[in-house]
Symmetry: C2
């Protein structure tokens, strides 16, 4: 039974890091004293230590301690022993590369499927999908695979951004990119706007937050879903 929060972003406009998610932490991390933090995605290139300190500061507001996976000699053992896990955002290619290099991709998948509570934001949410192939990030490193945790039976596009009708820019819109994904892949994609998250609980996947999300299915027109929609069978 999976207990997880997969959030589009760590930070909302004019808010502090994780501010809008702090109220969710006591329920997700019930009876958890210390969370294992995965800082591998290194947003803006910051160090594992800096990033862990940032997560620890935010989690302290919910009375939960944080320890970085980099502080452990054996990362696989750290995952197996963890009371809870939080994977921060940054570059998804780097995150996935490091998860494979440290041989923890499968270990995280296993413990989370067995009930260890998990939270991801941005890149940490992207890896909750079947593959990382709907990331927005640059391929700054070549990972050994694009396959990820598969906590949900579809793919996730975090930081989903609606097309700007006034834009004169000719780079592909997010919707076009996802359409190109569906030219080669069949799983649905959920575009999670900033402020939305998926709650995985009691064998159910539910859209949370105040906003709608956008669902993309191969060869279908995309459509909006309301918050509290049950996404358990989206596949």
């Amino acid at each position: 039974m999976i207990n997880a929060i997969l959030a589009s972003t760590s930070t909302l406009h004019n808010q502090e890091y994780l501010e809008y998610l702090i109220p969710q932490l006591p329920e997700l991390y019930k009876n958890v004293e210390e969370v294992l933090f995965i800082p591998y995605a290194r947003p803006g290139g910051i160090s594992h230590e800096e990033y862990t300190a940032k997560a620890a500061e935010a989690f302290s507001k919910a009375g939960i301690k944080v320890k970085g996976i980099n502080e452990f000699k054996d990362p696989v053992d750290a995952v197996k022993q963890a009371q809870g896990i939080f994977t921060g955002g940054g570059n998804t290619f780097l995150l996935v590369s490091e998860l494979y290099r440290n041989k923890v991709m499968n270990a995280i998948k296993e413990v989370v499927k067995n009930g260890t509570p998990y939270m991801g934001t941005s890149a940490g949410t992207n890896i909750g999908g079947l593959s990382m192939q709907t990331t927005n990030d640059m391929p700054i490193i070549y990972p050994p695979s694009f396959q990820t945790l598969g906590l949900v039976p579809f793919n996730i596009n975090p930081h989903y951004l609606d097309p700007d009708p006034n834009s004169e820019h000719k780079g592909e819109t997010r919707e076009t990119r996802i359409k190109e994904f569906h030219g080669l892949n069949s799983q649905p994609v959920i575009g999670l706007r900033e402020g939305s998250w998926l709650e995985l609980k009691d064998n159910k996947v539910t859209l949370k937050g105040k906003l709608q999300a956008r669902v993309f299915k191969k060869d279908k027109l995309p459509f909006e879903i309301d918050t509290e929609t049950d996404l358990t069978d989206l596949n």
Copy 2:
């Protein structure tokens, strides 16, 4: 001696496909009757045939015929026999995967370095750099390598987009993404705005078009360069 145009985009706002580049074609493709078109990047998932027809229509305005590489039985031979090559935009991961799958990545590199005129737009320009790692595209397919043609001694970011100072969106800016690239890679990156192109001619690389471009070097502050700047030694 390389003769090439590496353009940020195929299409400018309120213009037709390739419109602003048509005046450049007679000089680049001097004495060329027929150009070999590489439609592998399939923008929006269109077919090779549709994409080739689109390129042919534009090139006809410069009196040049177009044949798609997909029309040849032996793609490597098609590259070797080509009088000129044009690689269109779309998804860079798909383009690079197909170039490797059809074993033409090295063949193109070789003939272009030996003088076969080459034009790329968007993804077709991205592959002109040392690697495709500064693409903006989604990883919709897993290519066997991120290494590309290396016609210039640096990386290219096409469709370069300045940060929007009014944006409330928390996804990474282009500049942040390139900074993350430089956390792991050392080659410079040139951010080419839409309407800019690199001209490779007489052993020189020159910025063309009306706009400035933005140069990113590892551990340095990014800076602007004017059109007509010589970039031959940017590495």
